[in-house]
């Protein structure tokens, strides 16, 4: 069972156009679990114990119970929080789907790097 007050925080790259758009899209989605999107550049202000460099290196999701998800696991965990995409999250987490999910996220990450402004 998941804790009732579980919350997720997505640390995204605030200098990347695609990441910012995805964060805004996330804000609009109906959710099972609350999700906050915070630019990794402002991690210190929000008291994130992970340093900004590490957050920028890979998409990172932190949960209010202390769990940290990075890269593919971060993507899957965010999708799990969304009402309309939880079924996809569970599918992507299965061993047979894992390679497809990893490729898909690699493509998105590649696109995100291309839209980086600095």
């Amino acid at each position: 069972m998941e804790p009732d007050d579980l919350e997720l925080t997505v640390w995204f790259d605030g200098d990347c156009g695609l990441c910012t758009r995805v964060a805004r899209w996330l804000d609009r989605q109906p959710k099972f679990v609350p999700v906050r999107c915070i630019a990794a550049q402002r991690a210190d202000e929000h008291g994130c114990p992970i340093d900004a460099g590490a957050l920028l290196d890979k998409v990172t999701v932190t949960a209010s119970d202390g769990a940290v998800y990075r890269g593919n696991n971060a993507w899957i965990t965010v999708l799990w929080a969304l009402r309309d995409y939880r079924a996809w999250s569970l599918r992507f987490a299965r061993p047979g789907w894992r390679p497809l999910a990893e490729n898909l996220f690699a493509v998105v990450t590649g696109l995100a790097k291309m839209t980086k402004q600095k």
Binding site: E2, G66, A67, N73, I76, T77, W80, R86, L90
Partner: protein
């Protein structure tokens, strides 16, 4: 009583019997399913089960009444038999469709609830001390 009236009587008897049988089957076997969906809240499961069965009976008896009238009067026993068989056949197909529709509704409810209760699918890569 002429052959047409006999045919109507046979049709109504068959249809009511079949509908009640399918309805009871649904009621009896759907219960376990719904108890799982409603997280062992038996009162809620029984209530939803009952409501579904009432809807099922309403639709089927409604269809049965509407489909009762024969296009032409039947002359003899053979024609009466054919007419009843045709009408009962239609009734069976409608019952079958309704039955599968009910199963679909059950499985939709169940799938949704399972999704809602699913834990996080991947293990964390690291643990921080809890913030709240």
């Amino acid at each position: 009583m002429d052959a047409t009236l006999y045919a109507y009587t046979a049709y109504v008897t068959f249809s009511v019997g079949l509908t009640v049988w399918v309805g009871r089957t649904l009621h009896k076997n759907g219960r376990a399913f719904l108890i799982d969906v409603f997280a062992a809240r038996e009162d809620l499961a029984d209530s939803v089960n009952h409501l579904l069965v009432v809807g099922f009976y309403l639709i089927n008896f409604g269809y049965m009444s509407l489909a009762l009238k024969l296009a032409h009067r039947v002359a003899g026993a053979t024609e009466a038999f054919e007419a009843v068989s045709h009408k009962v056949g239609l009734m069976l197909v409608v019952l079958g469709l309704m039955h599968f529709f009910n199963l679909y509704v059950f499985s939709r409810i169940r799938r949704h609830k399972r999704l809602q209760r699913a834990p996080r699918p991947v293990p964390p890569d690291a643990m921080l001390p809890a913030t709240e």
